[in-house]
């Protein structure tokens, strides 16, 4: 719980990826063409049915890391294993949710939820299986009665629910979500955070939630990874074993919050003399 900041790498690049996890990555690095590395030597494990929050300031490389972990981009170094197999393309059992719902406006809610189900590289489904999956996912997010509404007729919160249902319909083993609630108002956001936790538990999926919101991370995560530095690394990790609902545990929540704020403070101070990170471990 209190790994010193200098111990930046929680897992060395040399340690093997873990087979039994939903996702396990070692020694990951990524650079956009012609630019310096966004992150380097990142190791991440996500266990089955676990909610991991990737926390960090904006621009620290969270979205880039998520896209690489989902294999939307190829890492410049390192290896990703998904369900034990080395990942070389986006996996059919991994699903994505973005900050914007990004629904397809020409499809109704049911059409959007089923959108990912009938592509050549997705497992083939019968008509009835498909309809069942779509209906099931829509009711899971509380929109069973809105299947035939179009995106232009949905509120921001409802649209993001449809986006969540679109991901769930693919029965993911791992849900990648990039600041999925940060465009929503505070009340809707709190609802969606609860919904996400409930869905992850009920649908037996794991989730990697990228966020820059400390409170969101504390309320939602089983584990919090703090990302920072240039190039970005995972600099700290907290296992969050606060009982849910966490809103009812103000003392524990406040303590963790302070701990995270301290870590962020140390990270800022640290970045002034960043070159000594490599030396001490």
């Amino acid at each position: 719980m209190n790994a010193p900041l200098e111990g930046g790498r929680l897992y060395g690049a040399g340690q093997p990826a873990v087979e039994g996890h939903a996702l396990s990555a070692r020694g990951l690095a990524y650079a956009y063409a012609g630019a310096a590395s966004v992150f380097a030597d990142v190791a991440i494990d996500i266990r089955h049915r676990e909610i991991v929050c990737l926390l960090g300031g904006s621009g620290c490389g969270k979205s880039s890391l998520l896209r690489v972990l989902a294999r939307l981009e190829a890492p410049t170094a390192g290896e990703i294993r998904f369900l034990g197999e080395v990942l070389t393309a986006p996996h059919p059992r991994a699903a994505l949710v973005f900050q914007q719902a990004s629904l397809l406006p020409w499809l109704d809610a049911a059409g959007n939820v089923g959108f990912g189900l009938d592509f050549d590289h997705q497992p083939a489904l019968s008509r009835s299986e498909r309809a069942e999956r779509v209906g099931h996912a829509l009711s899971a997010v509380g929109l069973a009665g809105h299947a035939h509404r179009y995106p232009a007729q949905l509120s921001g919160g409802m649209a993001q629910r449809v986006a969540l249902a679109r991901a769930l319909a693919r029965q993911p083993q791992l849900l990648f979500a990039d600041e999925p609630f940060s465009a929503l108002d505070a009340i809707t956001r709190a609802e969606m955070q609860d919904l996400l936790v409930e869905l992850v538990h009920r649908w037996h999926t794991a989730a990697l939630l990228v966020t820059h919101d400390i409170d969101e991370a504390i309320l939602v995560a089983d584990r919090i990874l703090l990302m920072g530095g240039a190039p970005g690394r995972i600099v700290r990790e907290w296992a969050v074993d606060i009982e849910r609902p966490r809103e009812a545990q103000p003392v524990a929540v406040t303590a963790l919050r302070l701990d995270i704020l301290n870590a962020l403070h140390a990270l800022r101070a640290h970045s002034y003399e960043h070159h000594q990170t490599e030396g001490k471990t």
Partner: protein, 247 residues
């Protein structure tokens, strides 16, 4: 309520101005009495009820459809290419802007020389006039595609064909329809003068014919009909646009 009254008030005002103008003109030359609203309305009634006008209307509408189809068939692929390839866009933008600014009717003599008299040069002129709004709107549609849609397609390991047919084309349909709507307006405007040259049927021809027959109330009736049909076409295009967006 006001949404119904104001347009009607505008039309009524125009009607009054028309009547006043015709009356003033009639004082100077009596033959202009035929231009007035009442004789024109009467002529329109006769024409719509009779069989002489409709072949011209159908022929004009057919030309609109063929011209529009050609413009879509050429404009959409070129627009997609322009939107996807920076190089293609850089290579073609000055040329397209140049061609766009040449009134399509200027090509008429050349079109008749190359394509002969008849429908072919009219199709060419209509398509040439209509291709630009479709091309430019398609290109801007491609440029404005939500990058997350493409990311989503990639996360589904979509093939190239799936990406084009399930994301890109439906994603730019709104823009294509906007282009088509503008194109219909342009085609309808270009159609009448294009039909005044080298063809022997169609609304443009009909207007010239009424002039030659000194049937001035029929001339006014034809103008009213051209306006009404154009309004109807635009309404159809607007409705298609709104239905696609489910607004």
């Amino acid at each position: 309520m006001l949404r119904l009254i104001l347009p009607l008030a505008g039309l009524a005002a125009a009607l009054l101005l028309w009547a006043a103008g015709a009356a003033w003109l009639t004082q100077r030359m009596p033959v202009a009495a035929d231009f007035a609203p009442l004789p024109s309305a009467d002529a329109l009634w006769q024409l719509v009820g009779g069989g002489d006008l409709w072949p011209h209307v159908w022929l004009s509408l057919k030309r609109v459809l063929v011209g529009l189809a050609l413009a879509i068939a050429i404009g959409v692929p070129l627009g997609v290419l322009t939107g996807l390839s920076k190089r293609f866009a850089q290579g073609t933008t000055p040329l397209f802007q140049f061609l766009r600014m040449v009134s399509p009717l200027s090509w008429m003599p050349l079109a008749v020389m190359v394509l002969g008299v008849g429908d072919a040069p009219v199709y060419f002129l209509l398509a040439f006039a209509a291709v630009w709004p479709i091309l430019l709107n398609t290109a801007s549609g491609v440029a404005q595609l939500d990058p997350n849609w493409l990311l989503l397609a990639r996360s589904l390991s979509a093939t190239r064909r799936e990406t084009v047919f399930r994301v890109v084309l439906p994603g730019i349909t709104e823009h294509i329809l906007t282009g088509v709507r503008l194109a219909i307006g342009i085609i309808w405007i270009v159609l009448v003068p294009a039909e005044m040259l080298g063809v022997s049927a169609g609304l443009g021809y009909f207007i010239l014919d009424t002039r030659d027959r000194l049937a001035y109330s029929e001339l006014m009736a034809a103008i009213l009909l051209v306006g009404a049909l154009g309004y109807a076409l635009d309404y159809l295009a607007r409705t298609a646009h709104a239905r696609w967006l489910h607004r």
